[in-house]
């Protein structure tokens, strides 16, 4: 993958995809999208970057070890659950500090809270997990003599 066009294109594609991923994550509660889809989009961005510039560059660009990202996501999701437990006495109950129905029953305010934190956790787990495996798979060496295992039975 040493195509100049491809490498140059990634300079635009990767940031755009990442922004898109965050947007998809944020709008997920009301429109198609959410943590899983956003996370996969972001992972795709990382994969594109990695294919264009190699594992080392991708790792440097990420700065954080991918599995750490995944772990942080899990911690965020659990924290969201504990938040609900503290607020409502039940693990994973949604907490909406700035959002809720007005007198007419229409929800208004800033839709951020434990649910968004949870979805962010999902997002991070997917990005971290997928890029972690991808990087390691890419780094895994090929032995000098590759056994030819052509099957014939």
């Amino acid at each position: 993958m040493n195509s100049l066009i491809y490498t140059t294109a990634t300079r635009i594609i990767v940031p755009v995809t990442l922004v898109l991923a965050v947007i998809v994550l944020l709008r997920g509660h009301n429109d198609p999208g959410g943590g899983f889809i956003g996370g996969l989009l972001a992972a795709l961005a990382v994969a594109i970057l990695e294919k264009a510039r190699g594992v080392d560059a991708a790792r440097a660009w990420l700065r954080v070890e991918p599995l750490t990202i995944a772990g942080a996501g899990l911690v965020a999701a659990i924290a969201a659950g504990l938040w609900g437990a503290l607020e409502h006495g039940m693990f994973l109950t949604g907490v909406w500090p700035f959002y809720g129905p007005n007198a007419a029953g229409v929800n208004e305010g800033v839709p951020a809270g434990s649910i968004l934190l949870f979805d962010l956790g999902v997002f991070l787990v997917v990005v971290g997990g997928v890029s972690g495996i991808l990087f390691t798979l890419e780094e895994a060496g090929v032995p000098a003599e590759q056994p030819d295992d052509e099957e014939d039975s």
């Binding site: 198609p32 999208g33 992972a43 795709l44 599995l67 997990g129 390691t136 798979l137 099957e151 039975s153």
Partner: protein, 751 residues
């Protein structure tokens, strides 16, 4: 503690060695305080709920039968514990032995005191397990391990049967309280399950109490140390089966089947065991066979539906426990002090070991049933009972006489052979053991004489109440030493004469027995064959279904899945009622693309084609998801499909080519069967109306309660967030595991 023996290792100091014995002695004293209550035919009860939902209680009940056994367990237990602490004074494993013995004593006490059938069973198994550990006490010896395993398998198998039998009885009765069972005998006997529960319960009792053809494990169990044999395998555990037969006889007894089964099995056991007893030259083994014989006699008399037979049986339980424990312990003393248990190697020890001889004489006299010993009373009652048995008095009586005559000969062999004649023994200077060893057996032996001389001490207080419990009605019997010259006495005299003849001709009988009775009645042989057969079967099964080939495992798994799916389709009630509906061309085209791509993956040998086709399948599915209103799913599917292709592309460069190979008909059949099963199963599922309760609820509250318009996402992050949390945890774990697998160094695994 003075020592006349010369142990090689220093004695273990400490009072702890006698603590278990002391505790048991105190327990025996405590149980004895119940005697006046029991003598009036009363009982004591103690109930705690255990598993209320299953109607199982920790119920305990102390009546005459339980009390007798409790006294035997604690009293003889205290003596055996004290004896063991001296017998094993130089053995560093004494603590283990005493712990195991204590555990056993607790199990055994629980067994005889339990009033709830399940509680009883738990303790029953407790005795099986502790017995296993005690028989295998010398676990460095293969023979001990084999014997322990044999005992465990035989009694364990019987235990399973017993559990099934008890549950059957519980189901029929509607309660698991044994005290209620014994009052509802008619319900059991009229039940259609009577034969089943009787067979199962008796199987448990017969294996535990070493009845023919399961008797072989008991002589094998003699691999256990002598105090253990004396305690478990003569006085207490082997009587658990007899105890249960006695306990349940008011509930299950009184039928032809009951009487005949117990009579025949008991009589056969008795005769076979007495013949085998005469063959033995190892005194301990000989005693083991006479124990089997005594157990046979007990079973036979419990079968006789006659109160004299019952009284004879319950008396004999006490008689036997007293003299047999004494003899076992005394043989242990011979073994310890004179160096062997082989009767041929011993002689003339009357001067060197006078106390031991005295004890053995007393016990053997009771065993032979001489006047005025307790054994005489037991024997007279048995004969009286045998003559009164309605069904087959001749059979029962002659079997009893023959067995008792052989018993007289056996008693003579233990009591006379090692002590008369010229002195010889492997150890140069035999002597009596220390007091802590002989005091217990001496006490038991003296009791055998005391109860004979003063039967009122035990007759009305314990024996008759016990007989009434077992017989389930009043027992108009008097326990006395001299009942006048009657038929039973004449039979006794005949027994003695016959016994003396046997004793006289012992060596000749033994020789001919060796020749004439080669392997008959050796059920141990059958056990070996059965055991080997089971091992072979297991090995064959393992070889067949576990060939170590991954494809075989997969094949079995998928085959089974196919069978299950088809089974569900064929057995299931709902048919397939599905209309084709409208089939838009575009939809059909997508399905066709997926089908063709699928086919290409299967057929192609090219990695590139396969990867492309895989992407085609995934993308096609995404389109289907879009067409049928699943936007989120479609997006996910599409993104994952792209990533899968990226991953495979990265990895495949490092993996060999896939290859195609020829058509594998067998695998293709399995695949097609499972595939068709899924198709028809799915169509059957779709033919039933969909339950929309849950989606309706989600739709109703998604906005008002969870503040979200995308119901799928609301389900994921709010309604079912706990599931999602589990799922992302799985993703993290999979990632960590995959990274670990890939990074784990590149070294070759040793072949």
């Amino acid at each position: 503690m003075t020592s006349t023996a010369a142990p090689a290792t220093p004695e273990q100091a400490g009072i702890w060695r006698v603590v278990p014995a002391l505790v048991l002695a105190i327990a025996a004293g405590w149980f004895a305080t119940f005697l006046p209550l029991i003598a009036q035919g009363e009982y004591a009860e103690f109930v705690v709920p255990w598993i209320p939902s299953l109607n199982i209680e920790l119920a305990f009940r102390l009546d005459a039968l339980s009390l007798t056994f409790a006294l035997l367990i604690t009293g003889i237990g205290a003596i055996c514990f004290l004896y063991a602490s001296t017998y094993f004074r130089s053995d560093p494993r004494l603590k283990r032995l005493l712990s195991l013995l204590t555990l056993f004593a607790i199990s055994m006490l629980g067994l005889v005191l339990a009033d709830d059938a399940i509680t009883l069973f738990v303790f029953w198994e407790g005795t099986t397990i502790t017995s296993f550990l005690l028989v295998g006490y010398d676990h460095h010896k293969k023979s001990a391990r084999d014997s322990a395993l044999q005992a465990l398998l035989v009694t364990g198998l019987g235990g399973l049967a017993l559990l099934a039998g008890l549950i059957l009885m519980g189901q029929v009765a509607g309660t698991y309280r044994i005290s209620e069972w014994v009052q509802m005998g008619g319900i059991f006997r009229d039940s259609g399950l009577y034969l089943g529960m009787l067979t199962l319960v008796l199987l448990g009792c017969f294996t535990k109490s070493a009845q023919f053809p399961f008797h072989f494990w008991l002589p094998g169990a003699m691999a256990a140390p002598t105090p253990v044999s004396a305690y478990l395998h003569s006085a207490t555990m082997v009587k658990a089966g007899v105890y249960l037969i006695a306990r349940l006889s008011p509930a299950l007894g009184g039928t032809e089947v009951w009487t005949w089964t117990l009579t025949l099995v008991g009589a056969t056991t008795m005769i076979v065991a007495s013949i085998w007893a005469l063959k033995q030259t190892d005194l301990k083994l000989m005693l083991a066979y006479t124990t089997v014989m005594a157990l046979g006699a007990l079973v036979m008399f419990l079968g006789g539906d006659y109160y004299y037979a019952t009284t004879g049986a319950v008396t004999f339980i006490i008689v036997h426990a007293l003299y047999k424990a004494t003899l076992f312990l005394s043989v242990g003393m011979l073994d310890k002090m004179a160096g062997t248990r082989e009767v041929e190697a011993l002689g003339g020890l009357r001067r060197a070991m006078p106390l031991t001889w005295g004890i053995i004489l007393l016990a053997a006299a009771s065993m032979a049933g001489f006047l005025p010993f307790f054994g005489f009373i037991g024997k007279e009652l048995k004969y009286e009972g045998a003559l009164g048995v309605a069904s087959e008095p001749l059979l029962v009586a002659s079997a009893a006489v023959l067995a008792n005559a052989l018993m007289v000969a056996a008693a003579g062999m233990v009591a006379l052979k090692p002590f008369l004649g010229a002195q010889r023994s492997p150890k140069p200077a035999p002597s009596d053991p220390p007091m802590t060893m002989w005091i217990g057996p001496a006490l038991l032996a003296v009791m055998g004489l005391t109860f004979g001389l003063f039967p009122d001490l035990i007759g009305p207080t314990l024996i008759l109440p016990m007989a009434e419990v077992v017989y389930g009605g009043p027992v108009p019997v008097e326990v006395k030493l001299w009942a006048g010259v009657n038929t039973a006495l004449k039979l006794s005299i005949a027994t003695f004469l016959l016994g003396f003849v046997f004793y006289w001709m012992l060596s000749r009988i033994r020789q001919s027995l060796d020749k004439e009775v080669p392997r008959v009645a050796d059920a141990a042989e059958g056990y070996e064959i059965l055991l080997q057969g089971m091992k072979d079967l297991a090995a064959w099964t393992a070889r067949t279904i576990q060939p170590g080939k991954m494809t075989s495992y997969l094949r079995y798994t998928f085959l089974l899945m196919g069978v299950l799916v088809w089974g569900a389709i064929l057995i299931g009630t709902g048919g397939i009622d599905l209309e084709l509906g409208d089939v838009p061309i575009f939809h059909s085209a997508i399905v066709a693309i997926i089908a063709v791509s699928t086919f290409a993956i299967v057929v192609t040998g090219s990695r590139l084609v396969a990867i492309t086709a895989l992407g085609g399948v995934g993308a096609g599915l995404a389109v289907i998801f879009v067409l049928y209103s699943a936007i989120d799913v479609a997006l996910t599917q599409l993104l994952v499909e792209i990533l899968v292709v990226v991953f495979i592309a990265v990895a495949l460069l490092k993996l060999p080519r896939a290859g195609t190979g020829r058509l594998r008909i067998g695998d293709a059949s399995i695949s097609v069967m499972l595939g068709l099963g899924v198709t028809f199963g799915l169509m059957a599922v779709m033919s039933t109306p969909l339950d929309r309760t849950i989606p309706d609820y989600f739709e109703a509250v998604s906005y008002s309660e969870a503040f979200g318009r995308n119901i799928v996402n609301v389900i994921l992050v709010d309604f079912r967030a706990l599931d999602t949390l589990g799922e992302i945890a799985v993703v993290v774990i999979a990632a960590v595991a995959a990274v670990a697998a890939l990074r784990g160094g590149g070294q070759e695994v040793e072949k």
